[in-house]
């Protein structure tokens, strides 16, 4: 009752856990427990990751495009301004040309004044921009020179005396040349800045290309690890499952994605395959039981006959026999009944369905039990079974029922293959290094033809006549041995016989045995 309660609790707890971790692709109810780990991770689907990668690529490309548009606009503005600074220089130069004319021929002063005003107008209108480019102080100096020049020019117009004009002339020339050099510098600065911007603009395509390459590499890497890597992993899983390894898939990545869903589906499939495989194993065992029953029935007739004869004689001669003889006969009856019991129990043990229970087992005991099961079959086929156990061997890691089934299959196969007076030799030894105990089932029968040998472990492959064999014995046996962490090898030579070697992992470090 308590245990029932506990189990109930555990189940509800499990369900709560499943519900907690699966907000979005929630698997169907009754999801195998093995899948929980797959869903315990935070979810970032591959679709989300792809969308993120492409959004990021778009953002970077957009940023570079906007930047290049900005640079182009800036360059355009500069070019316009360059024109303005050129105009300014030309106006100053014109003003100075007319100033010289005036000094030489006393003509053109109004023209000089007009050009100067134009220049001042340009300075006024573009004051802010010029200030930004050359600095506020440079602008102030330019303005001051212009103002000074203006006033000197006005003064020059008023003076009629050439001597007085001579006083003004050097100052006028000084300011004039300053203005021109400033205008030239201003123009040069502008030209330099335009050149810089253009060279910057020229780099943009290269930058764009570099970013594009980085993004492409990133996306290629992403596809390789996230998608191709996942596909390769699942290809390996299918190979593993094909070999009969039905352990569930465990999470390999930090986040769960579409592949986690696939893994969950795989685990469901694995569970179903495992269930079907177990049914197959069970049905094959029942077939073996059917075969063994014939031998057991035969064997059972001996103690039954002994009991029958003894009991009948006891009844017949009850009045004439002495007590000692009667007791001896009763003891015979008891002993023969026990013998019957043993024969039946052995088969029932083998036939009984039981949960897999892996524990250390003494291989000699397993083989003795197995031989006892099949010995009647062998007797009926007039085949001898020999044992050759090399001891002491370390215990093997296994399930008694499974091992019985494996060796029943192998020995019955050997018996079936042998003509009368053939021999099946069952021998054991251990491998030197890797800690395996090996059981060899060797027959001196006709052998397996070379072209058939690679197929003998295939399910449903049989050489026996229609209906006599299921073709499952070896496939099921190999499946079980693999489940126990071992492997089966087959060797055969035409005319000499066949050896099946079953390698089972030993439970103890073999050095303990080899030294002891």
């Amino acid at each position: 009752m308590e245990r029932e309660q506990l189990r109930e609790n555990m189940r509800t707890r499990k369900e709560v856990a499943v519900g907690d971790f699966m907000p979005f692709p929630y698997p169907e109810k009754g999801e195998p427990v093995e899948n929980i780990a797959l869903f315990e991770r935070p979810s970032i689907s591959i679709r989300t990751r792809l969308v993120m990668a492409f959004a990021l690529s778009f953002a970077m490309c957009a940023a570079i495009t906007i930047w290049s548009i900005y640079i182009a606009a800036l360059v355009q503005e500069k070019i316009v301004f360059l024109e303005t600074s050129g105009n300014y220089r030309i106006e100053i130069q014109q003003a100075r040309r007319f100033e010289k004319n005036f000094l030489l021929y006393e003509t053109n002063l109004p023209e000089a004044m007009e050009h100067l005003r134009n220049a001042e107008q340009i300075l006024m209108e573009n004051g802010e921009t010029i200030g930004n480019i050359l600095g506020a102080s440079a602008l102030a100096i330019m303005k001051a020179h212009a103002r000074e020049y203006h006033s000197l020019l006005t003064e020059l117009g008023r003076k009629r005396d050439p001597l007085e004009r001579q006083d003004i002339e050097p100052k006028l020339r000084e300011h004039g040349s300053q203005m021109i050099s400033l205008a030239l510098e201003f123009e040069r600065e502008e030209r330099e800045s335009v050149r810089k911007m253009l060279s910057q603009a020229r780099k943009i395509p290269f930058l764009f290309l570099a970013v594009l390459v980085v993004l492409m590499v990133f996306i290629a890497f992403f596809i390789k690890t996230q998608i191709l890597g996942g596909l390769a992993r699942f290809k390996k899983y299918t190979e593993r499952i094909g070999r009969g390894n039905f352990t569930p898939i465990v999470p390999k990545r930090k986040y769960r994605d579409e592949f986690s869903m696939l893994a969950a589906a795989f685990n469901r499939m694995i569970q179903e395959l495992d269930r079907r495989h177990n049914i197959l194993v069970e049905s094959h065992k029942l077939r073996a039981v059917g075969t063994l029953v014939a031998g057991v029935a035969h064997e059972l007739n001996n103690p039954l006959n002994n009991t029958m004869l003894t009991a009948t004689m006891l009844e017949e001669d009850f009045s004439t026999l002495d007590d000692k003889e009667k007791l001896s006969m009763v003891n015979d009856i008891i002993a023969e009944t026990e013998r019957s019991q043993k024969i039946v129990r052995n088969l029932l043990d083998f036939a009984r369905e039981s949960e897999m229970e892996i524990r250390p087992l003494q291989i000699e005991k397993i083989l003795d039990d197995t031989i006892r099961l099949v010995v009647n079959q062998a007797k009926m086929a007039k085949v001898k079974i020999e044992k050759e156990f090399q001891g002491p061997l370390p215990p093997v890691h296994g399930d008694a029922q499974m091992l019985h089934q494996v060796f029943v299959n192998l020995i019955l196969n050997a018996v079936d293959a042998l003509p009368p007076h053939g021999t099946v030799r069952v021998s054991t030894f251990k491998t030197k290094e890797d800690g395996y105990v090996v059981v060899e089932v060797r027959d001196n029968g006709p052998g397996i033809p070379e072209h058939i040998l690679p197929r003998i472990f295939d399910p449903f492959f049989t050489t026996k006549a229609n209906g006599k064999g299921t073709g499952l014995g070896l496939s099921v046996s190999r499946g079980m041995v693999r489940k126990l962490g071992g492997y089966v090898l087959a060797e055969s030579k035409a005319g000499e016989g066949t050896v099946f070697s079953v390698f089972l992992p030993a439970t103890v470090v073999p050095s303990k045995y080899s030294s002891g």
């Binding site: 035969h298 007739n301 006959n305 002994n306 004869l309 009948t312 004689m313 017949e316």
Partner: protein
């Protein structure tokens, strides 16, 4: 008084001989029991028996071989085969090879006595 019959019983089960010997001797016949077919055939070579009762499945030489060898030495001997697992094939084979009859395990001494009586009648006829 009818002539006593010499009966040989071969079965590798010790109890079979042990129980059949007194059961069959009640009719006054001579009964010798063997567990090993080899020794039985050796003895048969020394002095033939009128009736041989043999189990079919034994280590070494089986009942059918015993049947053949016995009949080869003494054609008028009646061989009765005991089978543990009565199949039509085995019975047919035994009869084809000249066995007088067969009886399936488990049987009562009375069943065997009836078969022996039938054989005895043929011998005396």
């Amino acid at each position: 008084m009818e002539k006593k019959l010499r009966i040989m019983v071969i079965d590798d089960e010790n109890i079979v001989g042990k129980r059949l010997k007194p059961a069959l001797e009640k009719d006054g016949d001579t009964v010798e029991t063997f567990e090993e077919p080899n020794k039985a055939l050796e003895r048969f070579g020394e002095a033939p028996f009128d009736i041989v009762v043999t189990d079919i499945r034994m280590d070494g030489i089986d009942g059918l071989e015993v049947l053949e060898q016995v009949l080869a030495r003494s054609a008028k001997t009646k061989v009765i085969i005991i089978t543990g697992y009565a199949t039509v094939e085995v019975a047919r084979e035994a009869l084809a090879k000249g066995a007088f009859d067969f009886i399936a395990k488990p049987f009562k001494p009375g069943d065997l006595r009836a078969v022996i009586e039938k054989a005895a009648r043929e011998i005396r006829a």
